[in-house]
Symmetry: C2
Subunit: 253 residues, 2 copies
């Protein structure tokens, strides 16, 4: 049997999602909680790999193994809570077809990047947003964002260490919003290159502070040159916020 789980986590205490030797990871914690509950070895497949310090409002993974066939998946979130630390939650669970793949069947994912845009940093957003003390020009950032939408070769927005051969990605939307002191960059795409969201966020911020002229953006994208784009912003402000699958038929309940 295969279950699909939606989880949330605060990434601050973890070396990313994926299991690593000698490091505390979200997947590691989740696997040990699930194996304590099901009392058998399990196979987990996540929708993505988030880096150390990155958070997830909505992350999906499948669990396979000798699961309790006659327990309703609706009960799992409540049953598993006691085995999990407070910074990870299982929100929902569904049975899925054996053919379902948590990563390959993703249609698009949405990330948010949060910026505390005040001269003094808020203690409530420490490790949960990046601090930008200079006032950002949101209109300018949104004009810039429009150039990213659609299918482009995003090599200029990929960190060294990225292994992608095909560097074309199709950005569905990229929007910047201010709500009080908080600026949120929201981006959805069929896939992301290594550190792509954090470099796009850094480039938008450079435009919003008038360090990069708006007119340069299309050339920067076309250049495929990482050095011409803005800085990679820290992981603290990044949240995986939404995952949309190709086909709802996979969801059995």
């Amino acid at each position: 049997m295969k279950l699909l789980l939606e989880i949330s986590y605060l990434g601050t205490g973890y070396h990313g999602y994926q299991v690593q030797k000698n490091a505390v990871t979200v997947e590691g914690r989740l696997q040990s909680a699930l194996e304590k509950f099901y009392k058998c070895p399990l196979m987990l497949v996540g929708c993505s790999r988030t880096d150390a310090g990155v958070h997830a409002e909505s992350f999906f993974l499948t669990v396979e193994g000798d699961l309790y066939e006659n327990m309703s998946p609706k009960k799992l979130p409540f049953a598993i809570t006691q085995f999990l630390p407070e910074d990870i939650s299982v929100n929902r669970a569904w049975r899925v077809e054996d053919g379902f793949h948590a990563r390959y069947d993703v249609m698009y994912k949405e990330y948010k990047y949060l910026i505390w845009n005040e001269p003094i940093m808020s203690p409530f957003f420490c490790k949960r947003a990046w601090h930008c003390p200079l006032r950002l020009d949101i209109e300018l950032m949104n004009e810039c964002a429009a150039s990213f939408v659609g299918a482009h070769d995003f090599s200029a927005f990929m960190a060294q260490g990225g292994s992608a051969k095909n560097t074309v990605r199709d950005i569905k939307y990229l929007e910047v919003e201010r709500e009080g002191s908080l600026v949120t960059i929201k981006v959805a795409s069929n896939g992301f290159l290594y550190n792509m969201v954090r470099i796009i966020a850094g480039t938008l911020v450079d435009v919003g502070m008038k360090r990069i002229p708006l007119g340069d953006i299309e050339n920067i994208i076309a250049s495929r040159d990482r050095k011409r784009a803005g800085p990679t912003l820290p992981p603290d402000g990044l949240y995986l916020s939404r995952v949309v699958y190709k086909n709802d038929k996979f969801f059995k309940n």
Copy 2:
């Protein structure tokens, strides 16, 4: 010279605001940061004492001592940041008259109590809101809240250990709001008895879960009997959110 400071803090790591022996407190941290900066002993007076684990969006205190006369108070928040931990911020500073008292000159204070009202707790609100898995009836809670407004003897809402002789307080407003998964109780008063906000919140929650009938509230207040009111909710959900002073003339800039 006397300065008035507005600060924010995440209370999770502190044994409350006020200095105590052998315990880490917000005041202790602040005093050592300010004394490092001003290089002299200083006298701090806070607007309130918050308990262990309680947060403050807006807390005021005065600082007296051999302060740099010719430094604009506007620069202090930036200058002091490097001496403070990330969970405390100095937001603003003003010169005030020597006669100003951070506690006695308060006209009223506002507290918020945050409740995560979903079956499963959010990792993002852990230690920052109380978790109530049962759906609360906000309309019922607001009807109940109306009975608290005005001057009443709030003995039924004072924890043991409270030292107040006069137990009459004048509640200016008490309101309950739902925004998505979060329920916020907001209360302003000229003063609060020991644990008063947390007991009022616990009583409103009992009404919202239909454990206490709405019709009983006026009798519970009139009874002056702590046993008849609801439970004291945990400190994690409590925020000092606003302090209004009697007279703006104290503020010199």
